[in-house]
């Protein structure tokens, strides 16, 4: 094949390299042609390279990733969180020294509820505080409620970790320092 536009203008200094490269001629083996024709007739698939495989599978990977992310989000949302709110008068004693410790699913079920007296004035529950009442998810009413009990409601706080301050803590107490029952409900 003639290459006049190339060869006529080729700088003198490159001519030797050009001539050397032009002498190199490779010839594929004769049997490659019928071999390839046979592979074409059999409609053989080309070799799958890593990138192609990745391109083929990325939608499935994306779906799997999204599913895992969604499950992780569900787990996070349903993971119980502990909420500590202080300080109110929940036992009717007059002093604003009671706190409420709640273990709840985010904006969901209350798993555990404790009313404590903030003895050390730390405005949070510590080992020095006294638990006045603890109950689990199921109400455990006092069997013998003595006379003179009082019902106390405190609204509105975020007591279930859901975000909005739409929860109410209600206690049934006999002043000055006994809490007989406690409950949390959400305003709708």
């Amino acid at each position: 094949m003639s290459r006049p536009d190339h060869e006529d203008q080729l700088p003198e200094v490159l001519r030797a390299t050009d001539a050397l490269l032009r002498r190199i001629r490779f010839q594929p083996r004769q049997s490659l042609e019928p071999e390839l024709a046979g592979r074409l007739v059999r409609s053989e698939k080309p070799a799958r390279v890593g990138v192609t495989a990745w391109r083929q599978w990325w939608p499935a990977g994306l779906v799997a990733g999204l599913a895992v992310g969604f499950l992780a989000l569900l787990l996070i949302l349903h993971r119980a969180s502990t909420i500590d709110r202080c300080c109110y008068d929940l036992d009717g004693g007059g002093a604003v020294d009671d706190g409420v410790l709640v273990v709840a699913e985010r904006d969901g079920r209350i798993r555990r509820l404790s009313v404590y007296e903030d003895r050390d004035r730390s405005e949070t529950f510590t080992a020095a505080d006294i638990i006045r009442l603890t109950r689990a998810g199921v109400p455990e009413p006092e069997q013998s409620i003595p006379p003179g009990f009082t019902t106390i409601r405190r609204c509105c706080q975020d007591l279930d970790g859901g975000g909005p301050a739409d929860d109410v803590i209600m206690t049934v107490a006999t002043p000055p320092d006994r809490v007989l029952a406690a409950a949390i409900y959400e305003l709708r």
């Binding site: 190339h6 490159l14 050397l20 490269l21 007739v41």
Partner: protein
């Protein structure tokens, strides 16, 4: 193009297979451009086996994606060279991940050497040249492969690379200058 019976047979089958128009087209493309493509690939690969594998891969890919070939947009040759470029790129990407020992062989090298001694000297010279080409940037290897492996003019190489003839020529000359420098070191 009507399907026709070909003599090519699968070794496991006793009857001839019907060659589809796409298969006929690919086979005819190999007859027309197989050697050019082989030369292009061989200039950038260490062994004839690799060049054969990739040449076959080019045509298998062409058959697999033949519906995407549009003759209004370019010639089959340009399309096949683009497939070859991609196949070579994929091969290099995989080769980076693999530990391989290149086996240099020149059983496919044409020669007019009158004696075995001269033939060996020529093979040594070619090994030195291609070894130097392998040290060049990929773009340089590509233009050298097209112009010397496939024996294309710079204008033809430019068509495949999406360059004007003068831009391809400039790229070739720069590549040759770098090659000359590597050979001198």
């Amino acid at each position: 193009m009507p399907p026709r019976i070909t003599s090519i047979q699968h070794p496991d089958l006793a009857f001839p297979r019907v060659e589809t128009p796409a298969q006929i087209a690919c086979r005819e493309w190999y007859e027309a451009h197989g050697r050019e493509l082989y030369g292009y690939l061989r200039f950038q690969l260490t062994s004839p086996d690799l060049a054969e594998d990739l040449t076959a891969e080019v045509f298998l890919r062409a058959l697999c994606h033949i519906e995407s070939f549009n003759s209004a947009l370019g010639t089959p040759r340009a399309w096949l060279f683009r497939i070859a470029q991609n196949a070579l790129r994929d091969h290099r990407r995989q080769a980076r991940r693999r530990v391989s020992l290149p086996i240099t062989s020149f059983r496919d090298l044409e020669h007019q050497a009158p004696s075995m001694e001269e033939r060996l000297l020529w093979e040594e010279e070619v090994a030195r040249l291609l070894g130097a080409v392998a040290l060049l940037p990929a773009a340089d290897q590509e233009i050298i492969g097209l112009c010397y492996g496939s024996d294309l003019s710079p204008a033809e190489a430019g068509d495949i690379l999406g360059l004007t003839g003068s831009a391809a020529r400039t790229r070739l000359w720069r590549a040759l200058r770098r090659l000359r420098k590597v050979l001198a070191e």
